[in-house]
């Protein structure tokens, strides 16, 4: 079990620490998930996301490699720009979803903690001439600062003009004399930044600087529990819950990130076929009409038969109702369709909605 560079800080703050994807991560702090969640929606919070994986692609043929690896189009990226993309198997199943950063001399791929080793092996298997791969996952610290006040907080730490960094763009800067990547990205639906650095000896110092910069807004650390409720209110997919090797990006609602007109990418022919034949099921977002909380693997019913299972579910701290996602056959995927969730052997009413669940996020698109 790996501690992150901020492990001692989490312990001092009495976080509930649990293993997640092989890392010892803060699940929640004594403030509790609801308070943490609302802090990010209303003001600003900070997250230790050092468990995320970072893989560096270098060499002359780096773009050819990345182009073929992912479903989105990295050739359209400018230096200083980031994209979100699925990465698929030849059958269209999802290996992982990731961020791709285009630097001047290399690509920087940020992958899910649970998939680091699998992804790195997959990339090695698909490696071509004149390029190289480096797994920097275990030497990289990542702090996310998320919320409508995030820019004001992070601006205090850097001489970069953050107003000039657009959504899904980034720049190199320094905090406490340490080289950092400051990226306007996140997984919360709020405006915010993700700060990457490899000088982990300075990790605690940088954490404390962010905390001081956020004092005016009563910044608090946010655990993985609230990270999950924040992302689910936006219907952002979570690998392992909403997407995996048995699901394809088209049925997962990620059509926008699959560029079927690209010359080539792994999974293209399978996904073109799915697209032509139309998806047979779709990952939908539903809200509970009855008072109940949907949970992963609860059964979904309609017309007195089981039509699917819940992929992600929680009580929404912003809306104060149960919300969830699940794959349903196409005849049930329309917004407004009423379905039932089986909760402890009782059928509870729910309705399919158009995502996101939470529509007031400050994220700058």
């Amino acid at each position: 079990m790996r501690p992150t560079p901020f492990y001692e800080i989490h312990k001092q703050k009495n976080a509930k620490i649990d293993s997640f994807a092989g890392f010892l991560m803060p699940i929640q702090y004594p403030t509790g998930i609801i308070r943490e969640h609302r802090q990010v929606r209303d003001s600003v919070g900070m997250f230790d996301l050092s468990h995320m994986g970072e893989i560096i692609v270098r060499g002359e043929k780096r773009l050819d490699f990345v182009y073929n690896l992912i479903t989105n189009d990295a050739s359209k990226l400018a230096v200083g720009q980031t994209l979100y993309t699925p990465m698929c198997y030849p059958d269209g199943g999802i290996v992982d979803d990731l961020l791709v950063y285009r630097m001047k001399d290399y690509f920087y791929l940020v992958v899910n903690a649970s998939n680091i080793e699998k992804d790195f092996l997959w990339m090695k298997e698909n490696q071509i001439e004149k390029m190289s791969l480096e797994n920097a996952s275990y030497d990289t610290a990542l702090i996310a600062v998320q919320g409508p006040k995030a820019e004001e907080v992070v601006q205090k730490l850097t001489t970069l003009d953050l107003a000039k960094i657009g959504y899904y763009h980034f720049a190199f800067g320094q905090i406490a004399g340490v080289d950092v990547i400051i990226s306007r990205t996140g997984y919360t639906g709020e405006d915010g930044f993700e700060i990457y650095f490899t000088n982990v000896d300075k990790a605690e110092e940088i954490w404390n600087l962010v905390e001081s910069a956020g004092r005016k807004f009563d910044i608090i650390p946010i655990g993985l529990g609230a990270r999950d409720t924040l992302r689910l209110e936006m219907k952002y997919p979570l690998y392992g819950n909403d997407i995996d090797k048995t699901t394809n990006p088209l049925e997962a609602g990620l059509r926008f990130f699959v560029k079927l007109d690209k010359d080539n990418f792994i999974g293209k022919s399978a996904l073109v076929k799915v697209h032509q034949e139309k998806i047979s099921r779709k990952l939908v977002a539903f809200e509970m009409l009855d008072k109940a909380v949907p949970r992963q693997h609860y059964e979904i019913y309609a017309d007195d038969k089981k039509i699917g299972e819940v992929c992600s579910g929680t009580m929404s701290p912003s809306l104060n109702i149960g919300i969830g996602t699940g794959y349903v056959p196409r005849e049930y995927m329309k917004t407004g369709t009423e379905i039932y969730i089986k909760v402890r052997n009782k059928m509870k009413r729910a309705i399919i909605i158009k995502p996101p669940f939470y529509k007031q996020g400050s994220v700058k698109r």
Partner: protein, 125 residues
């Protein structure tokens, strides 16, 4: 915090014995483990409950926990306040957030429950 004078189960329910009525809730230790409580699924008056079986459930944001009947009996009261204020379980687990009242079928079963000192030792406090 463990409250003196109450009885306890290994599944973290507290039981306040008042004659042939058992008032049941979940312990402070249990609510701390669960975190913010967002929903309570209450039993109904008249429900017959079996010792050790689920009679209610308590939902936190990220987890759900069964509330097990500490004794055999019949539900004779439920705390409807919890429907609108489930967070009372976090703020007042032993007082305002009682969950149900059970009419005890067999008072011999009371002896199977732990007292406060035994429960303290059980949770390692």
């Amino acid at each position: 915090m463990v409250q003196k004078g109450l009885k306890y189960t290994e599944t973290h329910e507290w039981v306040n014995i008042r004659g042939n009525i058992a008032i049941v809730g979940i312990t402070d230790y249990a609510q701390k483990q669960l975190g913010d409580i967002v929903f309570v699924d209450l039993p109904e008056e008249g429900d017959e409950v079996t010792k050790g079986d689920s009679m209610a459930s308590v939902e936190a944001v990220k987890a759900v926990a069964d509330v097990n009947a500490p004794l055999n009996g019949i539900i004779v009261g439920v705390n409807e306040k919890l429907e609108d204020a489930p967070d009372l379980i976090n703020s007042s687990p032993y007082d305002e957030a009682w969950i149900a009242k059970i009419k005890i079928s067999d008072s011999n079963e009371i002896d199977d429950l732990m007292d406060a000192e035994e429960y303290e030792a059980f949770i390692g406090e």
